[in-house]
Subunit: 377 residues, 2 copies
Amino acid sequence: MPTLPPAKIGVPVSEIDTPALIVDLDALTRNLEMMATLVRRFGVRLRPHAKTHKSPIIAARQIALGAVGVCCQKVSEAEALIAGGVGDVLVSNEIVGARKIARLAHLARQARIGVCIDQADAIPLLADAAERAGSQIDVLIEVDVGARRCGVAPGRAAGQLAAQIGRSAHLRFAGLQAYHGAAQHFRSPDERRSAIDAAKAGVIETVRHLADAGLACETITGAGTGTFEIEGRSNIWNEVQPGSYVFMDRDYAKNTLADSAAAFDHALFVLATVMSTALPDQAVVDAGHKALSNDSGFPAVWQRPDIGYHRPSDEHGVLTLADGAPRLAWGEKVLLIPGHCDPTVNLYDWYVGVRGLGTPAAHVEALWPIPARGAVT
Amino acid sequence: MPTLPPAKIGVPVSEIDTPALIVDLDALTRNLEMMATLVRRFGVRLRPHAKTHKSPIIAARQIALGAVGVCCQKVSEAEALIAGGVGDVLVSNEIVGARKIARLAHLARQARIGVCIDQADAIPLLADAAERAGSQIDVLIEVDVGARRCGVAPGRAAGQLAAQIGRSAHLRFAGLQAYHGAAQHFRSPDERRSAIDAAKAGVIETVRHLADAGLACETITGAGTGTFEIEGRSNIWNEVQPGSYVFMDRDYAKNTLADSAAAFDHALFVLATVMSTALPDQAVVDAGHKALSNDSGFPAVWQRPDIGYHRPSDEHGVLTLADGAPRLAWGEKVLLIPGHCDPTVNLYDWYVGVRGLGTPAAHVEALWPIPARGAVT
């Protein structure tokens, strides 16, 4: 039941039905290439997080630029990515439930699959499912390096889990998942560095315990768009998982950068139309909660700092103008920079890829389905 | 690209893959019947808002119980509902853009279609499209009765628009859309009554202007789950548009009721699984922003007031326990009452209809697709 694509190939932006999820194809390419270049310099592996884009087409571009594979969070995302041709997927999350684990084990027949655990109970379930499927699964132990969500405490616990993993011929202890989600959005470089320094200490302690137990730790993976340069240069992490860099959202753009080469561009927009100018001091657009995830703040209007977005309801948003700002016309289109890209992408069936966005020649060049949209299980 | 259904017919709740959107079929039936009974007593028409459920299956049940048709907000929602067999749809919203208006006019060949306007520019565009499609569209004028979103001011403006509508043989002036969205969520009965009393004064003034211009106002429609009893008894509105009553969400349950017969039950839940108990003072569930729309507050845990839901991220939510509350086990399932039903439904491809929810015999009885999910255009 996907919805119809909101435009045809070749049409100008004015002919795209709204709200629509727009990808600036030029900015996307710049972002993909910049990340590939930066991570190559660090000498670590790049495994971008596909939870952001949910698209095997974008994953293929990342892999063509040197990524070893991708991450995702859900088995159903992995199913969509592997069906689209991705051959190496790390589910950087705990998977619980017999039906899901059986699906994961089945996927491991078709692609290299990794998954995270933080609890011993998961190990026999994974082992049994992989045995039944005749597959092998890489298992990483998630360590809580400060996000206080999932993950064992740094130190001894990981050693005990790793030893148990090794007892099944269908599981392989592959390393540590050490991702500090909250730190990605700390605004100052000092806060981010301090959080990742603390995470690093926890990882070092955990690796020492593993070594004491005679266990090698092949992969230490983690990091996001907000901190990947710190982990990338750490000499501890050997794989980074940034996701949002492909699109950049308004929230990430609030991070203050310093000593950073990571100047990613906004490449994702929601195109909206002014549908009412009945009240003189505002313009109502056709993009509300069902078109934008507002969990990390409201969108900004592209290149119009004199316009604010307010009071979203399910299908409406209210734009207010600063004093003296040119009024918006009924039917006019505006580009909104989402507050948070991942859950905004999750609201759409199609990317509308635009070439030359912001120029008079701007036109629709690509319509990409989003097969891992809604992939919650 | 719909995702696979998260369960099979007949299985117990424990075998549903999570997160999943659960409908308590018993509670749904009670809600549908209660609304039909109440509105029949008022002697007004019931036109439920399908923006809540997005399902022609539920719309058919509403119509079987006496509803004259349904409302929705988007052309693509109307397309999905009409494809599913609904014969009378009011798009209770302004539709802007040539492509959308052409689609709307085409739909009017297959079903009775109404649409709202608040601006004269819309009239020739609708008339031309309906002429090209060989169809007729009912046009309602939206009056801003206090929500300060779309709609003309009460009074003279509607008369001018109505006269213009009447000039096209393909359009028919059908009445007024007078919906006070904000008032639905005012917590006290007095606040809600006072807001709708003010709205009523605006409608009466507008109807008087129309009458002065010799224009009859066949339909006066509006109202939602929070206020429909007030409009229903007003002797002004002759049609009500409640939507959320089918499911009830946590936000609506915060409204204080008085002199109200409208005791709807929670019929919509997100089933989630405890995926990590690594930290002793919390349990992490597999339902975050992609499983719940948190725009109107976080979910409650069904029948467990001693558990709080906090700190959602995209794929995780954190449950914290009150002192002395029984701990949640790894792998345990919990039912969450969404903060806001409409945008939460928008995140799923499937309703999992459960019979006997909360009893030992609870099992999956129905899997209903949600064809207007993601219907944003």
